[in-house]
Amino acid sequence: MNGIPMNSSQAMHNKIGIVGVPPLEIIRQLNEAQAIIVDLDEPQLFLPIDQSDQYLPRVYCAILRTVLLNALNLRLERIYVDVGPGKCDCALHVAAVLKDILSIPVVATRNTDTQSFGFPVCQSSLPLIEKMRRITKGVQSCQPWPQLPSCPPTAGFWGVPPRDFSILAPFPDSTHIYGWTRCMENKTPADLELESYCNPAVPTVFFAQSFCAKTALAKHLAARHPKALWVDCDVSAGSSARAKIEAFLELSGVLGGGRAAG
């Protein structure tokens, strides 16, 4: 059992912040208590991210800077921060910062769940941005995924959900998702084997947030993949990152009449 269990009266209609993918048991408790779950990894407020500079270095993971910005400015009852193999060491340190500066409980969890829920969204023909929205939203539920028809992949997106989803816009709907995002959907965020899996048959963009430890795995896997592009982005996707992805998809034959493979 990870973290502090909560009863229904504690969570009823309260806003609970989560960071990363807390253990299923925690999510189940929050769902049972009808808590309003707020994903602190995503931008929730129209505030300049520089406001996080008071507590975190400017050169730091933009997701965790966003977490801090959200935690400082949202009225939350409690925060669950997943740390360890299912998230990252930086989250562990940010959890320590949050504990120090906030007056609400900040609970560090270590998600080592192994029960696979599958990843139908990753393999579906939904637009890539919609896939990503569903997967990140799905973290807030302990329920299994509804089945979706899969499609043959023509491209791959490997990595974490980007802070700025606009970099996903150029991908075709037949893009399959790999990496930690697939682990998120499967509800096994610490599954390194699943995270490391990619499809060599399809041109794949390996993405990580700048200054994230996962940049090492992204670069490594991209180097081994026969047709890969490694990209990192900080707070927002710059024009050069978007253009690189667009050119990669064009020159790989994915856009403008790409063929299915794998």
Binding site: G238, S240, A243, K244, F248, E250, L251, S252, G253
Partner: protein
């Protein structure tokens, strides 16, 4: 059909209906209402009926101009640097450095005007500054001049630093095809620690010529 490579400092134009070759026009002298049929570059979206991604244009231009199946092609523009690497005739790697490569070409041209330098007459320095971007590199020049270096020597070290940075960005190949206005800068091309094959300023235009018919699958 009017093709245009809308660079930050210069616009390169080619009218395929005419026998004349491409033209180069300073970007600031381009009429406000000028429109091309197919464009690439920073200002292409507002000035063209249809646009082609710059890296795509570079890759397609390289494919038209270079007969080898394996090559690395680096484009050094005013504002950014970008490269494509082909292996066995297939695109194998690419990069576009708009942030840390900021304003390298622009700064080299600015320095020549400010210090009245003729780069053809500047000897290649034995060492250079560690330069990651044109703007930050200027500080190295001012510091060197303040410490007693000549302006010419400091500018040469800056150019060498820029060239070495671009070389590493392109993956440190043994042979490098070079595109862009800096092909005409003898100091810049001489500062690369590898064989340089200058292709000139119209590689992206060649890519635009290839756009309607070429596929990279």
């Amino acid at each position: 059909m009017l093709l245009a490579d809308f660079g930050t400092s210069y616009c390169k134009l080619l009218d395929t209906a005419q026998n004349a070759g491409p033209q180069i026009i300073p970007a600031r002298e381009l009429p406000r209402d000028f429109q091309a049929d197919i464009g690439t570059g920073h200002n292409a979206k507002r000035r063209s009926t249809s646009t082609v991604n710059e890296l795509t244009a570079l890759a397609r231009g390289g494919r038209r101009l270079i007969s080898e199946p394996d090559f690395t092609l680096l484009d050094c523009g005013s504002r950014d640097i970008k490269f494509v690497r082909f292996k066995n005739g297939e695109m194998a790697d690419m990069g576009w450095n708009a942030e840390c490569g900021a304003s390298m070409g622009f700064t080299i041209e600015l320095l020549a005007q400010y210090y009245r330098l003729d780069y053809a007459a500047v000897p290649v320095p034995e060492s250079g500054f560690s330069v990651t971007c044109g703007v930050l590199g200027l500080s190295s020049i001012f510091d060197a001049v303040a410490a007693g270096s000549s302006e010419l020597e400091a500018a040469a070290k800056f150019v060498r630093g820029i060239a070495r940075n671009a070389f590493r960005f392109a993956g440190s190949p043994e042979r490098l095809h070079l595109s862009g206005g800096l092909c005409d800068n003898p100091l810049f091309t001489a500062c690369f620690p590898c064989e340089i094959v200058p292709l000139g300023r119209f590689v992206l235009l060649e890519g635009l010529r290839a756009s309607p018919q070429e596929s990279f699958r």
